[in-house]
């Protein structure tokens, strides 16, 4: 391309953009997005407490409940801020979701180890899987409701956004588990409550990696099919 070809390229771009020019409303402020995401989390937690009960809170001591639930509330706020930050292309210093996830998991793990006790529970795996399976629908519901907000995101970093959303959804489910689950052993909470956060974040990352690629492939196939219909092969 020569220097005098720049106006030609610019003109082509302008023509393409002007052909699809429609007014759009700007994305809401970060504060509004964070508040909405927190509201979704709170609604899911309230539904979980109403449906599953509050046996966990009743079994825990005051200190255990206050520390764990406060940490989860801070983590949920961090997750919502992270998700809202990755929705737009530009942001002041924003840490990577992997770093935030590591910090949250470590702080929760430390508090669990310090506050709870070892207990050799019978049917560790069976009870754990039941607990995990109860948490998973809440995590999925939180993620699906978050998509209502995320549909307006720029999606420039789908992996980061997927991890952040998955992590937030997992934290919502863990809050539900902490409220209803009366099993207070370190092993159970670390493996099956914290495991919900990790598995949700992992699912979010995988979806972020695969969905945009899959959508692109689908668009390409559709385009190829459409051109094949318009221009049938010559015999």
């Amino acid at each position: 391309m020569k220097s005098d070809e720049l106006p030609v390229v610019q003109e082509r771009i302008t023509r393409q953009i002007l052909a699809n020019l429609r007014p759009v409303s700007p994305l809401r402020r970060t504060g509004v997005l964070v508040a909405t995401l927190l509201l979704i989390g709170a609604a899911i937690v309230a539904t979980g407490a109403w449906r599953q009960g509050t046996a966990g809170i009743r079994a825990e001591s005051g200190l255990q409940s206050i520390v764990v639930l406060s940490l989860l509330a801070i983590a949920l706020l961090a997750g919502a801020m992270l998700t809202a930050g990755w929705m737009v292309p530009v942001a002041r210093y924003s840490p990577s979701p992997a770093a935030v996830l590591t910090a949250i998991v470590l702080s929760l793990l430390i508090s669990i180890v310090l506050l709870f006790r070892h207990a050799s529970a019978p049917n560790f795996l069976d009870r754990g899987i039941i607990c995990w399976r109860i948490g998973l629908p809440y995590s999925s519901s939180a993620a699906l409701l978050s998509v209502l907000i995320l549909r307006r995101a720029a999606w420039l970093s789908p992996v980061a956004l997927g991890t952040a959303t998955g992590m937030s959804a997992g934290l919502t489910a863990m809050t539900v588990q902490e409220i209803y689950c009366p099993i207070l052993s370190i092993e159970h909470i670390a493996a099956f409550h914290l495991g919900t956060v990790l598995s949700s974040a992992l699912i979010g990352t995988i979806l972020g990696l695969t969905v945009p690629h899959g959508l692109q492939q689908m668009k390409r196939i559709m385009k190829t099919k459409a051109s094949g219909i318009q221009n049938p092969p010559r015999r």
């Binding site: 391309m1 953009i17 007014p23 759009v24 700007p26 530009v90």
Partner: protein
């Protein structure tokens, strides 16, 4: 930009005409050839158009545009790497001596020097000195802290000084100097 969001055709044309050349220069410093840079420019504008609602009125426009351009460049690099991993070389390809994009007569002293820098430092220097963005704006566009941008810029200046001294030129690279006129 706000008028562009409101579908004002005149403002949209003016925006493309104003930012387009600087964006093309940004891509030229990172691409192998001009065709690729032009493709990136087109892809950037199409993506800007797709996500134009994510710009919030009152905020700086340049960091927002360059953040998208950066993603387009990285995605393009990944796509190329993916395609190259599936290619099988059937013959020996002659090695190119330098970036063909820099063979353009308009891109002289500065472009040759900047081509020697690592990608991250080149990006920071291009944004600061070619696009005329502030440290804060570059930090926003690259999602890093102002301190990190300053550090990268400082390292780049040191390297540029060393290169300049090595080439035996009389002129020295000064941190505060704007290279727009040189290009």
């Amino acid at each position: 930009m706000t008028l562009y969001q409101q579908a004002d055709a005149v403002a949209t044309t003016a925006l493309i005409a104003t930012v387009g050349p600087a964006l093309l220069r940004y891509f030229l410093y990172h691409c192998r050839d001009r065709e690729e840079a032009a493709d990136f420019l087109q892809e950037t504008w199409l993506r800007i158009h797709r996500v134009r609602h994510t710009y919030r009125p009152g905020e700086s426009v340049l960091p927002w545009i360059y953040a998208i351009a950066r993603h387009v460049r990285v995605d393009g690099y990944r796509k190329k790497r993916r395609l190259e991993s599936h290619e099988h070389l059937m013959d020996i390809v002659p090695e190119s001596a330098c970036l063909p994009a820099l063979a353009h007569p308009g891109l002289t002293d500065f472009a040759t020097l900047v081509a020697e820098l690592p990608s991250a430092q080149r990006e920071i220097i291009t944004m600061l000195k070619v696009s005329g963005m502030s440290l804060e704006e570059v930090a926003q566009a690259t999602r890093s802290s102002v301190g990190s941008v300053k550090q990268k810029a400082h390292r780049a200046y040191e390297k540029l000084r060393a290169l300049k001294a090595k080439s035996g030129s009389q002129r020295t690279v000064q941190p505060g100097r704007n290279f727009r006129d040189e290009i």
